[in-house]
């Protein structure tokens, strides 16, 4: 009897292990194989030769520049927003949260079109911007705006969660000791939620680096001005496959490095 139960348990355990194994193998085939195919397709020597190409260098420099600035903008604007959402209650908060999350699930092309209709020359805010002498579409600024728009939720989400985890009593203690809210934020909240801020920054940076749909719709496609790496991959795919693959591998390595650095910096985080 007891033997029978044990056998049944063992069978159950094996079945679970098999199911997990199969799922993992299929997931591996789905996620890893394509990336591997990309890296293996072009010999290293060809890859190195492509690196000096004007279109590659231009796209790489522009991508790094734009996504760095976009990430800084996202951090500067997203940190107060995340703090507000994590520490305050106000009417309509749920709606605000959903709106801030929207770019994450919106098709990027829709995001680009929305940006065009808002900040384009003929857009809602176009007239006001023109008074300031600003015309955003087709400029590098448009690339940065598109990237920041798409990347913001990837920062705000984790940072908000991180700040919410900081024990409010710690802040209360700081306050009873005479600390102002701003002092408490910089000296208590910020250090304690730093891991989530680093994670959010890396995620937002990686998202900005990979932005395609909103960029091509809002900023257009001009080498050296708005043609970031994802756009260059798309365009080169129709012209020179080796260049397209080189750019893809570069993007892959950059994103991989970014996310890996994030994990390496916080080995205690198991996510």
């Amino acid at each position: 009897m007891s033997l029978g139960v044990r056998t049944r348990d063992t069978v159950a355990a094996v079945a679970v292990r098999v199911a997990l194994g199969v799922a993992m193998a299929l997931l591996g085939a789905l996620l890893v194989l394509p990336l591997l195919a990309l890296v293996l397709r072009v010999p290293l020597a060809t890859l190195a030769g492509q690196l000096g190409k004007r279109v590659v260098v231009q796209a790489l420099v522009l991508s790094l520049e734009a996504s760095l600035i976009a990430t800084l903008v996202v951090v500067a604007l997203g940190l107060p927003a995340a703090y507000l959402l994590a520490t305050r209650q106000f009417p309509g908060k749920k709606v605000v949260e959903v709106v801030l999350d929207l770019p994450m699930v919106l098709p990027p092309t829709v995001g680009g079109l929305a940006l065009l209709l808002a900040f384009g020359r003929a857009g809602l805010a176009g007239g006001a911007l023109q008074l300031l002498g600003l015309s955003i579409p087709f400029t590098t600024l448009a690339v940065i705006v598109a990237q920041a728009f798409m990347a913001a939720p990837f920062f705000i989400g984790p940072v908000r969660a991180g700040i919410a985890l900081v024990d409010p009593r710690v802040q209360e203690v700081a306050r009873t000791l005479g600390a102002t809210e701003s002092y408490g934020f910089w000296r208590v909240v910020l250090p304690l939620s730093l891991p989530s801020i680093v994670a959010g920054t890396a995620m937002a940076g990686a998202r900005a680096l990979g932005e395609f749909g909103a960029t091509i719709t809002f900023a257009g496609n001009l080498p050296g001005v708005t043609q970031t790496m994802p756009l260059a991959v798309y365009v080169e795919l129709q012209r020179d496959l080796d260049t397209a693959i080189t750019l893809s591998v570069l993007l892959l390595l950059l994103s991989f490095g970014l996310l890996l650095a994030l994990r390496a910096g916080h080995p205690e985080r198991r996510r």
Partner: protein, 274 residues
């Protein structure tokens, strides 16, 4: 434990089943898939409606995109019955990949025009104005047939009297975006974000035409875009494919093309019918 096991097995199984089902989902037997240049969108959509009306139960599936992109998709193994790009180059590319059972036929011609938003923010009145500093011009990328024709047109204008030898360089210097198909150019001008764009006459003739101003380009400087059409090897429904090509070449089909700003193919192009 049993729940977990059941859940795992069930989920994995369900995922696999859906996966397999979607892999096997090909267009139904009574459908014809047409890969056509973006500039044919309006005319072919109308032809598709007529084709379906005359053959109850038959569906026409269109894939409109830049010709270069369609060619790439076909070379990568996309299943289609008919291919109609906006120039011979991409038809040749597909032919060189061994995807054509017979020679293509030229079925239409198109010419370029310059389009402006109705509001004409840059006050463009003639072609010379395109070279003026600060004009925001949107054109098709070089890989797109329309982009290649655009460059050719600008070079011809530069050689024409009155435009100046560096006309094409000045105009290209004003380009703010290279779009990956001609409809992208139309959209950016329509939205009023670009001051001008270069597209086909057919793009300015459809519904979009109402929000656009058009500047004609002198015949002598205006390259003729020729549209070849062919059925594809491995076509899932070869009879329907041939029937669709026949409709395009018929008097009715040529009439529709004309209505949408295309020019019927000149007779005796030398190509044989598929």
């Amino acid at each position: 434990m049993g729940f977990l096991r059941g859940g795992c097995l069930g989920l994995t199984g369900a995922a696999l089943a859906t996966f397999a089902a979607s892999a096997g989902r090909l267009p139904a037997q009574s459908s014809v898939t047409v890969f056509a240049a973006a500039s044919l969108t309006d005319a072919f959509t109308e032809l598709g409606k007529r084709f379906e009306a005359s053959r109850p139960g038959v569906r026409v599936q269109f894939n409109f995109a830049g010709s270069q992109q369609l060619a790439l998709q076909l070379q990568q193994g996309a299943r289609a019955d008919v291919f109609a790009p906006a120039d011979q180059r991409w038809m040749s590319a597909v032919k060189d990949s061994g995807l054509l059972p017979a020679d293509p036929v030229i079925f239409a011609e198109n010419r370029l025009v310059v389009i402006l938003p109705r509001s004409n923010p840059a006050r463009i009145g003639r072609l010379e104005d395109l070279a003026r500093k600060g004009v925001k011009l949107v054109v098709a990328a070089e890989a797109v047939p329309a982009g290649r024709y655009t460059r050719e047109m600008l070079q011809r204008l530069a050689a024409a009297p009155g435009f100046g030898l560096d006309y094409d360089a000045h105009v290209l210097g004003n380009v703010v975006s290279y779009e990956d198909n001609v409809k992208g150019v139309v959209a950016k001008v329509q939205l009023g974000e670009a001051d001008a764009g270069v597209v086909y006459r057919s793009d300015a003739s459809g519904a979009a035409g109402e929000s656009l101003k058009v500047i004609a380009i002198p015949e002598a400087a205006n390259p003729i875009a020729t549209y070849p059409i062919a059925t594809l090897k491995g076509s899932p429904s070869p009879e329907l494919a041939r029937a669709f090509v026949d409709l395009v070449l018929s008097a009715e089909g040529q009439g529709v093309l004309t209505r949408f700003g295309l020019k019927p193919a000149p007779i005796g192009t030398g190509s044989s019918r598929p």
